[in-house]
Amino acid sequence: MPTAPRDTARAAIWRASVGIGVYAGAFGLTFGAVAVASGLSRGQAQALSAVLFSGASQFALAGVVGAGGSAWAALGPVLLLALRNGFYGVTLAPVLDSHGARRLLTAHLVIDETTAMATAQTTRPEQRLAFWSTGVVLFACWNAGTFVGALVGSAVDTDVLGLDAAGPAVFLALVWPALRRSVRARWVALAGAAIALTLVPVAPGGIPVLAAATAAVVGGLLPQQQEAA
């Protein structure tokens, strides 16, 4: 790295990464339990966490299979939910600037949490550290959680533990720094949420969140003086 992150910033990034790791472990445990309860094997649950590595898509697949649908039918929502990561890749490409074999590894870690953590930092070295520390810690905890969850299966009711609140709470925490920084981001967040909620009754899974991207497009292309509008 050309310039090292400041020590305090580095410590804060690692602290945040560990916090996300704890959440990922608990959430991974939920996924492992839900996956085996849905009829996926332990190996399949683990493969999804290790290779697909995108929580929302994994839950969608388990959900469709658990509801008696074929896993092929789940591919639509699974990949629609994964498209979000493609957009994140566009956001992260100039930040990470990775090429060749390194890009192949980088791509695997492009998810909600790593994107939000990276974009919350202000300097390039800190953005990169945030991406990698979050990605590595989250990958390890998510997979360890999945392993335990698939092992204990339905012996533990994760809803009783309140773990279904973890997802929205942590995603809110991830988007928070951007909301604090800019008025425009607040409007874009509100518009994105409104678009998604409007589409929930009529569009298949994945589409509502994807359609929210139009809020970012409009918000990004509006001239600066419209900020307060």
């Binding site: 994105g192 359609a211 970012a216």
Partner: protein, 108 residues
């Protein structure tokens, strides 16, 4: 039916999408307007994700099935955010409040 094939197709598809996003030509990414939009993309989609997860948290009929105990938990997490707490605190507060409310007020 062998679930492995669709599971692996989903894995490969997801990876290709991630890689494709990272692989856009730099000339596209250098555009100021593209940069402004891509900065806002995670904001719009994460906010949408929070909203969708909340209205899908309950078991009720219809497209909007909000579990008010999850909403209360997430709201408590939001208070922690306003108080500038980290991820861990937000996570613990949201989960604990939801679990506590489920204990006190069972049923849908």
């Amino acid at each position: 039916m062998n679930l492995w094939v669709p599971v692996l197709v989903a894995c490969v598809g997801s990876y290709v999408i991630k890689l494709a996003g990272l692989s856009l030509p730099e000339s596209v990414l250098a555009d100021r307007r593209v940069q402004r939009v891509t900065t806002l993309l995670p904001v719009a989609m994460l906010a949408a994700l929070v909203a969708v997860q909340l209205v899908e948290s309950g078991d009720g009929p219809g497209p909007y099935a909000l579990d008010w105990r999850v909403l209360a938990g997430v709201a408590a997490g939001a208070v922690a955010l306003v108080l500038r707490r980290g991820f861990l605190v937000v996570f613990v507060v949201a989960v604990a409040v939801t679990a506590l409310l489920r204990l006190l007020v069972p049923g849908a």
